[in-house]
């Protein structure tokens, strides 16, 4: 093997090996069940969780609910169902976004004056949309109307 062929092989290997490693890791992930093509199973049974809403102007709301098969979004709708709040939503790409929450005849619009509706589960910020986060028994959900 001459040096040119050898150099070409080394060059090709620098491109091919990383690709093989990435594809290999993906296949191993699928085989081990770490990577799946089905969404996570919904939790079954009744879930009891505390929901707190901080409206950012000193107004607060807190309650405990027991709901079946529930996401963070379902719990918020539960508060609406008992007539405490009115939730405005927008569906985009299969996910629900909170547009507003009204409480005591005051509407708090998502994005108005730099205030945004964000939620935390057990004091941890949630990146996913509220309808994709499933709660466990005893969880604390905090909705905060935060200013950036």
């Amino acid at each position: 093997m001459n040096s040119k062929t050898k150099n070409n092989l080394i060059y090709a290997s620098k491109i091919i090996f990383p690709l093989i490693i990435v594809i290999g890791l993906f296949i191993v992930g699928v085989s081990a069940g770490i990577i799946t093509f089905e969404p996570p199973n919904k939790l079954t049974g009744e879930i009891t969780a505390t929901i707190e809403i901080d409206f950012g102007d000193g107004t607060n709301y807190s309650n405990i609910f027991t709901v079946e098969n529930s996401t963070v979004f379902d719990f918020l709708l539960e508060v609406e169902e008992i007539g405490e709040i009115i939730v405005g939503t927008n569906e985009e790409s299969g996910s629900y976004e909170i547009e507003s929450i009204s409480y005591n005849d005051k509407k708090y619009n998502h994005g108005e004056d730099g205030y945004w509706w964000l939620f935390y589960v057990n004091e941890q910020f949630a990146i996913d949309s509220a309808d994709k986060v499933y709660l466990s028994d005893g969880d604390l959900v905090e909705w905060k109307f935060e200013n950036f």
Binding site: Y11, K14, I15, P18, G29, G33, I34, I35, T36, F37, E38, P39, P40, E92, S93, G94, S95, G111, W116, E123, Q124, F125, I127, D128, F148
Partner: protein
């Protein structure tokens, strides 16, 4: 003198072109990205989509190209201009200065490729390696910002959760930017190898130093902004 002026204006025009194209694409694609594909990954007991689609790759590739082609001041001027213009339309929050400094780091790595005269076909693996390293650096830095900013508890567990939740974004950043690098940087290398209209601007020593100092200052400002 005239030749230098022409070259200097060319550099500004190219910077304006990159800022314009980056801003237009980011604004146009905003709200028009498809949903996450049905691939899920379970890490640390958390199951989440493997890819969370965002527009990182647009600004990332503009940052790398501005570093590779323009260098100097433009390593940070171009990406930060794109971010300021588009953030004005799309919106951002306190994390902005972390993302801006992150893109300035990407620009700086592009500039490093230019300085090492690595923009050749023989150096493609190195360019891709540096590009991937830059993306990882960006994600480590900006997610550290979200942890520090209070989105997660300030504990080891909070930090681990922060980086676990960031994995779908990181995987998407790596995939989308690698594809963008193939589509954008490979043609630039090809044109340069064939001496077809790819300018090679000279950078003055002071400009060289400033291009390294500014991202560091931005990173310090980002940290101070949260700590003060």
């Amino acid at each position: 003198m005239i030749k230098n002026n022409f070259k200097y204006n060319n550099r500004i025009m190219l910077a304006v072109f990159l800022i314009t194209i980056g801003s237009i694409i980011r604004i146009l694609l905003h709200n028009n990205l498809p949903g996450s594909p049905s691939i899920y990954i379970t890490v640390n007991g958390i199951t989440q989509p493997m890819f969370m689609l965002d527009l990182f790759f647009i600004v990332a590739i503009i940052s790398l190209v501005s570093g590779i082609l323009l260098g100097g001041y433009y390593t940070f001027i171009v990406p930060i201009s794109v971010m300021i213009i588009t953030d004005f339309v799309i919106g951002n929050n306190w994390i902005a200065i972390f993302t801006w400094s992150g893109f300035a780091i990407l620009g700086l790595i592009g500039y490093f490729i230019k300085k090492k005269k690595s923009l050749t076909l023989t150096h493609i693996p190195r360019i891709f390696g540096l590009g991937i390293g830059a993306i990882l650096l960006y994600d480590i830095w900006t997610n550290f910002g979200t942890w520090l900013g209070g989105w997660y508890t300030h504990t080891w567990g909070g930090l681990v959760l922060c980086y676990t939740k960031a994995l779908p974004f990181m995987f998407w950043h790596l995939l989308s930017t690698s594809i963008a690098m193939v589509l954008v940087i490979l043609p630039i290398i090809y044109l340069k190898e064939h001496k077809l209209n790819i300018p090679d601007f000279q950078i003055k020593p002071i400009e060289h130093k400033i291009s390294f100092v500014v991202p560091v200052i931005l990173m310090i400002l980002a940290l101070l902004g949260l700590l003060v």
